[in-house]
Symmetry: C2
Subunit: 143 residues, 2 copies
DNA sequence: ATTTACCTGAGAATGATATTCAATTACACC
DNA sequence: GGTGTAATTGAATATCATTCTCAGGTAAAT
């Protein structure tokens, strides 16, 4: 059993929930790549892979994955909600190209440090934070 | 005519669109305070103010307001989309309390500077950016 | 074997947002 | 001040993602 599966199975067990074959398959598809995903395309992928897992099952799994800390909602782009891995994926920020949709991820410890100073100042306990930049990537600007 | 009205009227004219009484009323309600808003509560406010403006009209106006640069989508909180002023409102970031929903706004030029350096590095042209921190405010932590 | 709690798929329900349509209105031009 | 044209409106309807309901399944605990 892979690392993400182990962690999630533990989480489920700790809540008295079950690690069913359906849940395993969904989890596998999600962690098969490091890409962001949304429910609809995940469902399509599973269907193409020959699985007969219903949309409802995926929708029911997502909150559990979030609660377990495996994934989180990503920077929201145009309309639908997308998710990204937390497990095995360090904190990072996004540059999102509004033309081609490409997402560049980056880290910046200076920004992190400044941000924590601000939160201290306001006596604010951080759970999570995100930074997203919308703009145009160099490739699209060339055109 | 107030500043926001002037700017938006100009924008509409430049696109061959009209600054109707309905649009003026909606704009006034939006800019009557500096608070974030969502379509539903805006609709309620207008109704209480005796206006008979339909939801559809508001939904149709929002994209125009965004395109004109008057407002933008704010940090998305729980479910529904909220908007905030851009006009007359300096760049800022958010601390959002997940318990009480309070939003603390702050600025930090150090973060801005570091961010611009990153974008330079990736040769990325910035249109807009946002930084949101989810967490628990001091008042809620007391409890 | 029975109980109990959890899971599932299918389809119906929901709720926010978008669209259609016929009637109305604003503005440019006469 | 009329008039034509394109934009705008409200109401109702449609759409779309997401959630819920329900009627079986299933696995582990008793």
């Amino acid at each position: 059993m892979s690392e993400p599966e182990k962690q999630f199975a533990d989480f489920l067990r700790s809540k008295g929930l079950k690690f069913t074959p359906e849940r395993r398959e969904i989890l596998r598809k999600i962690f098969a790549t490091h890409e962001h995903f949304d429910v609809e395309t995940l469902f399509e992928k599973l269907k193409k892979g020959g699985e007969r897992i219903s949309l409802a099952t995926i929708y029911r799994l997502v909150p559990l994955l979030i609660e377990s800390g495996m994934i989180r909602q990503a920077t929201r782009c145009e309309g639908h909600v997308t998710y990204e891995h937390v497990f095995g994926h360090k904190l990072h920020y996004h540059l999102v190209c509004v033309r081609c949709g490409k997402i560049i991820e980056f880290r910046d410890e200076g920004i992190e440090r400044l941000l924590m100073q601000v939160c201290d100042k306001y006596d604010f306990t951080v759970i999570d934070h995100r930074l997203g930049v919308r703009g145009i990537c160099s490739a699209c600007r060339e055109e």
